[in-house]
Subunit: 206 residues, 2 copies
Amino acid sequence: MTETRQKLLDAAERLMSQNGYAATSLRQIIADAGVNLASVHYHFGSKEELLDELVMRRAGPVNEERMAMLDRAEAEGGARGASLERILEAFLAPAFYVRATHPQFVKLMGRLYGEGMMGLIVRKHFSPLVVRFQAALRRALPDLDEQELGWRIHFMIGVMVRAMFGPPDGLYADDPSTEALIERMVTFVSAGFRARVGQRERVEVD
Amino acid sequence: MTETRQKLLDAAERLMSQNGYAATSLRQIIADAGVNLASVHYHFGSKEELLDELVMRRAGPVNEERMAMLDRAEAEGGARGASLERILEAFLAPAFYVRATHPQFVKLMGRLYGEGMMGLIVRKHFSPLVVRFQAALRRALPDLDEQELGWRIHFMIGVMVRAMFGPPDGLYADDPSTEALIERMVTFVSAGFRARVGQRERVEVD
DNA sequence: GTCTATACTGAGATAGAC
DNA sequence: GTCTATCTCAGTATAGAC
């Protein structure tokens, strides 16, 4: 990979994580990277393909880690299969672990999901991942019907995207450590996945 | 309100619900509405202010309905306050009831949240709503600490936004009725709100 | 008060010289 | 591989007709 490519990807990641994809112009990016405007189209072809490479250079390793964690969870679970919590953790945690080395990337992913820019990338690169996790969840929740499972996965993505955006707007919540945030998501989402259909929990809290 | 204003708002709602805010140009909107380009700036001042009016002409009534449902839930709850499920339903249901008369508006709201365009509008117009619902949840979940509650509200918004976007991408989920969708959200989210902190549910599903 | 015509700046994309 | 110049289309602004 040439130096120019690197500079463009780094500048785009930095700027887009702050302002989103649409609001970040190629002219901002090339100014920040110190290269010529036409080099974007020489190296990537378009703004959208630049984004594709930008996402995949980090999402690739994230998805490999997700698969590896799911492997371990299933190995430990033996014949029962992996537990719900371990499956959810395998999916959610690696996406936030990258905060340690590339904090802006996580925020960028949240923005991209929100802007609808992830749909294409997911269809293009994430298919094996989606299939495997759906199958694992299917097995962990055998009583949940297919439609309901699909919607709950959809809801989980919503929770993840929101968490990637950062802490809530108001003054009422902190910015927790990565581990605490993952714990919060898994606790919330696993309870949601386990909820009985058509029979809301009516127990009063203590 | 003049006819031109109406036409612009209607055209913008239709087009933006399909392609999002940023990807919809004023020139598309004025072509669809059959009016002159400059009329946008005469009537609204800018694309962003057009959006503000567009959102509030429907979100205004939605928020009033939310307040009214919360009033009823608290009246029924008496001294105990409203139940968690009723609070969540009061927040979520009215946002989806508008599908009956204005189906595109719900999708538009999902897109706008995703694009980060709702932040400003929420701060400008939704403050009383946020305060009231946060207080109601606080009361329904007295054992939950403030930070945790803030994050769980954040997560709920994520679920709502995802549901507004429409059914999940894959072939694995249907497009349910509004009532069924609300039921699904309330079931999932209420279980998440009730989950015990730092003590994940370990019960196997039957 | 309302609308039309037109111009200004900045976006993404592209062709061709070097 | 890189750069200059240029194309089309975006949001915005204003002058002036009715």
